[in-house]
């Protein structure tokens, strides 16, 4: 690969139109390894648009991070691990700064990058996906999975269910079914839910669905037979749409059907039409486009014709998720500049930036995101932050998601030991000595 070429393209794409005397030659390379093709493209596109648009906004409105422009080269992974590895190798040394952070956007790619990026000293920001036990910063110094993990989310769902049933003690004897994508991703919450089942006495029914999940008759027949009180879903891609439709067909009450945050976008509910009304899903940020930051994106990015997507689709759940991921990344870079007193930060500096990240209410308001998400503070040993999760509900008439609960605190007394156990097993298998925090 000709590196000069990559540089030229990056330059042309991002700063050529803005090339002024004040722009310094140093650039902050934050690549997008996105997927706009393949079976998961419908979910990948809005996320990728949100992610890129936010960087464009920072460049256009603020002239970059502290005056240093962001270069955002992209590489298509098609949600495929092997192509993801190729993308990583291609982008990691992009001059001048080298890649500052990777957002791998798939469980498989994240697992690939954890050892590689640690070796190359580039932080991996797997926001709300990837390896849950990477929350243990002592063992995974270069991996960040804030603001919350799948396990946090599982505990929140159980708390929500308890709230609806009248309290934790009412969980006893209740039946909860988990419909999950039969892969590492889908299996994530099982241990947490099992541990909680032991503690609170509910009965857990596990129903795996094989990729791609277009045929779920057998799964939903079992739900019809067992009639669980609640159904949780860890789904992805076409599996979500079919599951919601099947649930509607067997007339399962939608407000007792809760999806993970990757099963709660417009794409997932729209094909089911009116019947999806009332379906719930997890969320760590708000849907909709009525925050000041969205106005800025429309003004500085789309009005100038620099948006990646369609202006009408700003504010979709996954668009906002891409945006919030970019926001935290930008804040981490800013923080790295502050800590190290240089504007020419590298991957390892940004890691420090992530590790002492503190985006509080005040900062969110400055960014035009007041109430968009909750404050996040990362420490050396806790790479997953507060882990709070709310539930959002689909209104099929208005075709709108809206947050319907408070942000629940996760039950860390349940997930904590599990994280410790899993991360220590990893450390032992790979001869990693945990660092001191």
């Amino acid at each position: 690969m000709n590196l000069a070429k990559i540089k030229r393209v990056a330059l042309a794409a991002v700063i050529a139109p803005m090339l002024t005397a004040t722009a310094s030659a140093y650039e902050l390379v934050i690549p997008s390894t996105d997927y706009r093709t393949g079976p998961y493209a419908p979910n990948g596109i809005p996320f990728a648009n949100g992610y890129s648009d936010y960087f464009t906004l920072i460049n256009e409105r603020d002239g970059g991070i502290e005056g240093v422009k962001i270069a955002n080269p992209s590489c298509e992974t098609a949600y495929n691990t092997k192509q993801g590895v190729e993308c990583y190798e291609k982008l990691k040394d992009t001059p001048p700064s080298g890649a500052l952070a990777f957002q791998p956007l798939s469980t498989g790619i994240t697992y690939q990058l954890i050892p590689k990026a640690t070796e190359d000293k580039i932080p991996v920001f797997s926001m709300g996906y990837g390896r849950t036990s990477a929350a243990n910063g002592k063992i995974f110094p270069y991996v960040f999975n804030f603001p919350a993990t799948y396990w946090d989310q599982a505990t929140v769902f159980v708390q929500y269910i308890a709230d609806q049933e009248g309290g934790m003690e009412y969980l006893k004897g209740k039946k909860i079914a988990l419909v999950y994508h039969n892969s590492a991703y889908g299996k994530e919450p099982i241990r947490t839910l099992e541990t909680m089942a032991e503690k609170y006495g509910y009965e857990l029914q596990l129903l795996p669905v094989d990729h791609p999940g277009q045929e779920q008759k057998a799964t939903w027949l079992q739900i019809r037979r067992e009639r669980p009180d609640w159904v949780l879903m860890w789904g992805w891609g076409v599996m979500n749409q079919v599951a919601i439709k099947e649930a509607a067909s067997i007339r399962y009450p939608m407000d007792h059907f809760i999806g993970v945050w990757w099963s709660g976008s417009e794409n997932d509910v729209l094909p089911a039409g009116e019947e999806a009304n009332g379906y719930l899903s997890g969320a760590f940020h708000a849907p909709g486009d009525d925050f000041p930051v969205h106005d800025d994106i429309k003004e500085y990015v789309y009005a100038k014709g620099k948006g990646k997507g369609d202006v009408d689709r700003i504010g979709e759940v996954l668009y906002n998720r891409g945006m919030v991921a970019a926001m935290w990344t930008v804040e981490a870079v800013r923080n790295a500049m502050k800590i190290h007193g240089t504007k020419e930060v590298r991957g390892e500096h940004v890691r420090d930036g992530f590790e002492s990240l503190n985006v509080d209410e005040k900062r969110l308001e400055e960014l035009g995101m007041k109430g968009f998400t909750y404050p996040v503070k990362i420490t050396c040993e806790n790479h997953t932050g507060p882990g709070k999760v709310a539930l959002q509900q689909w209104d099929a008439k208005a075709k709108q998601w809206s947050i319907v609960t408070k942000f629940y605190e996760p039950l860390r007394d349940i997930t904590g030991p599990l994280i410790k156990e899993d991360s220590e097993a990893y450390a032992k298998e790979n001869n990693i000595t945990p660092r001191e925090c």
């Binding site: 493209a41 277009q214 019809r224 076409v238 039409g273």
Partner: protein, 307 residues
């Protein structure tokens, strides 16, 4: 007992859905000996085109100013599929006459790639909710009166499949073209020597397979929304095909029903004991067991070998 009935009925219905995909394979294999890997992508392409003609942002709307109503959109899609069949014959099949099965199989994979890319470029890769007015959800009367759950979409699919198979059977048995098709299926050279044009026949067969793909695309697309994953339904048709035989239209239907019922019953009654999600491999194991007794599939033509 009621639940068992329900499982079996659901299995039958799912089987019909598989059979719809398998039918397309059978048609092409029968007439040209090609194992058409692109059948799934054809279904996706057809569904994408249909959605596009009906959508206000589609090509049809851009061209004539308003989106096509459902019947016209279907007709237009059929037109597209016929044009596609013609192109495929013209650009690919014509040059591959008399090649081995595996080479032709590979060619259809190349074709699948081309259509996949083309579909994405022309129609975009979002999930599209396809609604051509097919009823959906559980059948109300049966559900409320007897507590029996049958999906309306699938009843509709079953009826469509019945009509489709009848029409195909009539077409094959009663029309001149149909007889020519059967002649080609029996023996290419003999058919050629009595004056049947192989090229025309291939265009016709691929057009018919394209229309069957459209039906499959509509049914599956109404269920899950039209998106890339639709092309993966081809995998669901493989065990059906193998069980029913590559060359038999009734085989595709019966095979579909057996696979559908078999895998649903296995998943619901055996699955929970071994951890679930056994549907996929169970379908193949079932087909395998049948094959051990009838190596040419249930309805396949007996293989006669000469040395």
């Amino acid at each position: 007992m009621l639940f068992f009935t329900e499982t079996v009925i659901s299995g039958l219905m799912a089987g019909v859905m598989y059979a719809l995909v398998a039918l397309g394979f059978v048609l092409i294999f029968k007439a040209s000996g090609i194992f058409n890997f692109a059948q799934g992508v054809l279904a996706l392409f057809a569904a994408l085109a249909l959605y596009d003609f009906m959508s206000p942002d589609g090509w049809a709307a851009a061209l004539i100013g308003f989106p096509l109503p459902v019947p016209f959109a279907i007709l237009a899609t059929i037109g597209v599929m016929i044009a596609l069949a013609w192109l495929i014959e013209r650009l690919v099949l014509r040059h591959l006459v008399n090649q081995e099965g595996i080479i032709l199989f590979m060619a259809t994979i190349g074709l699948a790639y081309v259509l996949e890319g083309l579909g994405d470029i022309l129609f975009g890769s979002d999930v599209k909710a396809l609604d051509i007015g097919i009823p959906q959800g559980a059948h109300d009367y049966l559900f409320d009166q007897y507590g029996l759950y049958i999906e309306k979409l699938e009843m509709f699919a079953a009826a469509t499949a019945a009509v489709l198979v009848t029409v195909l059977a009539l077409f094959f048995q009663k029309t001149r073209t149909g007889r020519a098709l059967r002649a080609v299926a029996d023996d290419h050279q003999a058919a050629l020597s009595v004056g049947i044009s192989l090229r025309t026949i291939w265009v016709i067969v691929w057009s018919v397979a394209g229309i069957v793909a459209l039906v499959a695309g509509i049914m599956w697309g109404s269920k899950s929304g039209v998106q890339f994953s639709l092309s993966l339904i081809a995998l669901k048709a493989l065990p059906v095909l193998i069980l029913g035989g590559f060359t038999s239209v009734p085989g595709a239907i019966v095979g579909g029903l057996i696979i559908g019922v078999g895998e649903k019953v296995a998943e619901v009654y055996v699955g929970p004991y071994v951890g679930g999600a056994i549907e996929n491999w169970f379908a193949y194991m079932l087909a395998l067991v049948f094959l051990l007794f009838r190596p040419q599939g249930l309805f396949g033509e007996k293989i006669i070998e000469r040395v």
